[in-house]
Subunit: 158 residues, 2 copies
């Protein structure tokens, strides 16, 4: 048998090699073991530190109230544009202002004189004066400018 012959021939060599390998392995293992043993405590402490840090983080996240930062965003809501005029009929009724008087009031607010209003409405100046006087009494004012100001304020005219 050639194989057996070969084994016998190199027996010592093989044994030596194997022994060396085992020895190296042992040394390696011992070295590793030595390192582990040497640093086992620190590694353990490190592990504990990591685990409890994580626990602390988890606890903080789970048990503390979530941080809420309020950002107030102002949303502009445009109400009643300039051209949108809603006539206050209730106030007109309450004050007893007649339609004709309101008409005169509007023209007064437009800057027309009593004469111009009279011409516009095809009536006499005296009629306008009467309307104006009655208006002033009803609006509780004494001048056309006051009447205009108040009428605008209480939404009788735009």
């Amino acid at each position: 048998m050639a194989t057996r012959n070969l084994f016998s021939k190199h027996k010592s060599t093989i044994l030596y090699g194997t022994s060396l390998a085992i020895l190296l392995f042992l040394l390696r293992w011992l070295e590793l073991r030595f390192i582990i043993f040497d640093h086992a405590f620190e590694i353990y402490i490190g592990a504990i530190a990591i685990i409890f840090t994580a626990l602390g983080i988890w606890l903080a996240i789970k048990l503390t109230k979530p941080k809420i930062e309020r950002v107030v965003v102002e949303k502009e809501v445009y109400i009643e544009k300039s051209n949108g005029f809603n006539f206050n009929e209730a106030e007109m009724t309450r004050l007893g202002v007649s339609r004709r008087e309101l008409e005169v009031l509007q023209l007064m607010a437009d800057g027309l004189s009593n004469n111009e209003i009279a011409a516009r409405l095809f009536v006499s100046l005296n009629t306008i004066k009467t309307h104006a006087s009655n208006l002033f009494i009803k609006l509780d004012v004494s001048r056309r400018t006051q009447a205009i100001e108040k009428a605008k304020r209480i939404h009788l005219i735009p």
Copy 2:
């Protein structure tokens, strides 16, 4: 000597008692030491655990991003009314209207008579009349009501 005699007489007894006391003390000390030694590791680990839990909590609190909550607040904006009046200074400059004249104009729009305006501004009636006249020329109108209407229209007054 009576004392020396007594010591010699009870020498063995005293020695025995002393020995016993020392032994007991040693045992006690050993026991204490044993307990400490026995739990030193756990105490250390416990301390580490507590410290790093605290660290974790601190980290979580410090480093977590706050949750941003947007609160939309509706803000009512009244155009061309009480809220939004933007004074047209350019037009005032263009027409050459002075500050005093503007003041008079505003009071006219409030419904005050020339006499009342004069009293309000501590000047004579004639002064107000002059201001009014100059205003009418600058605004190219002929009546206070027209002046008010135009002034509001070109945003000299609210």
